[in-house]
């Protein structure tokens, strides 16, 4: 049986500064996931020193706890990712943008 997969663009052309969290995403059908955070260029060259994001899981999509994995994206990097498995029913990223802002597109790639 071919494994099903789906990539969701969970943030698109969103500008983060300071603390952030992505929208709750249901992923109970999937066994593995990768979050990609890609930094988009800005006309005024605005950037940040770095961005950190922690994978969080939840039993209900409302209350969240750190899963243990995280990613770091430096201001001069285009993209970073973090892999996660055995996450139950819900996933999101929560993190912080230090010293500036980041214009991002965020993908959640899920696979059975």
């Amino acid at each position: 049986m071919m494994r099903r997969s789906a990539t969701a663009v969970i943030e698109r052309d969103t500008t983060w500064s300071g603390p952030f969290a992505t929208e709750p995403w249901e992923a109970a059908w999937a066994g593995e996931a990768i979050f990609f955070v890609r930094q988009l260029s800005t006309e005024d060259g605005a950037s940040c020193d770095w961005l950190t994001a922690r994978v969080q899981i939840s039993p209900d999509g409302i209350r969240w706890v750190d899963e243990g994995h995280e990613l770091i994206l430096r201001g001069d990097q285009e993209m970073a990712f973090v892999r996660v498995g055995q996450f139950g029913g819900w996933l999101r990223l929560a993190g912080d943008v230090r010293d500036g802002s980041a214009r991002v597109i965020v993908y959640l790639s899920l696979k059975e």
Binding site: R12, E23, P59, I62
Partner: protein
């Protein structure tokens, strides 16, 4: 051929698709406004949209609710912000300009982030077809307006007045119009309906919806939700001149809108689109 889900479905003779979200997203995807060169050119109303997800409808107090006919449904989730939209779309083309029918089992709920009824926190849920024949682009719009500004409404509505197009980018080849806004909706005559919401935000009851539309006459033929059959004689679709790249387009759109600063969720267990191909021959050879 895709098997028809059980339940209340009574499709026309020819099945175009029968989507069961226990099998995956079945070709449903997110909507994006048109753009050129940069995402900055997307019209504001289209910018903050996310694609559908697969849900097993798990709640904090009772666990997994599942779907109407299985485990998973397609879920459209708004942001926790008043008038935030969530939109899912499936894109096809039609092979015959004949009567078609859309049937779905759906339910809607606000995020159960407060221990209260939250009955009026979902603003609206709706269904749109996006069609084009040799002459016109036609966009039948229907929605169930559940509430506005925290007050219950409980009325079916349609929209036929088209917003103006805006040029996108600098090539002269791309235009866009934001037709999903809260403006210009008209009440379906005698379109009041109270749906079973149940007594707390975590209890879901599934509803049956049937929409009929004739691609030959480009007019509504049916609107049924649960036991109510509404008169569609006075309903008009949004109509505009044909566009260069959309011939025989047959898109189906589902959407949800928040009425409060709380996430609104539309769950769709299954969708069946059917057609009556024989109607063309019966019309030509009476």
């Amino acid at each position: 051929m895709t098997p028809i889900p059980g339940g209340p479905f009574r499709p026309l003779p020819d099945i175009i698709f029968a989507d069961d979200f226990d099998r995956g997203l079945e070709g449903w995807t997110g909507l994006i406004g048109n753009y050129e060169h940069s995402l900055d050119s997307v019209l504001p109303g289209f910018r903050d949209l996310r694609p559908p997800m697969l849900s097993n409808a798990t709640t904090w107090d009772t666990g997994t609710g599942g779907g109407a006919l299985g485990t998973y449904s397609m879920k459209l989730a708004t942001r926790a912000r008043r008038q935030s939209l969530a939109v899912g779309i499936k894109r096809l083309t039609f092979s015959q300009a004949c009567p078609i029918q859309v049937e779905t089992l759906f339910t809607f709920k606000p995020e159960a982030s407060e221990l209260r009824l939250s009955l009026a926190d979902v603003g609206a849920i709706g269904v749109i077809l996006d069609l084009q024949d040799d002459r016109c682009r036609v966009m039948p719009h229907l929605r169930y307006r559940n509430a506005v500004d925290g007050q219950l409404a409980g009325h079916w509505q349609f929209k036929h007045r088209a917003p103006s197009f805006r040029n996108i980018g600098d090539s002269g080849e791309t235009v866009s119009h934001f037709h999903l806004g809260p403006d210009s909706w008209d009440d379906v005559p005698n379109g009041q309906q109270q749906l079973c919401y149940n007594e707390i935000a975590t209890k879901q009851n599934w509803h049956y919806l049937r929409v009929g539309f004739d691609l030959a006459s480009m007019s509504f033929t049916a609107l049924q939700c649960n036991d109510r059959h509404f008169d569609v004689a006075g309903l008009q679709p949004m109509t505009m001149p044909a566009m260069p790249n959309l011939w025989c387009m047959l898109n189906l759109v589902l959407f949800a809108e928040a009425s409060a600063d709380r996430r609104a969720f539309l769950y769709v267990d299954s969708v069946v689109m059917s057609a009556d191909f024989g109607a063309v021959q019966r019309r030509d050879d009476p």
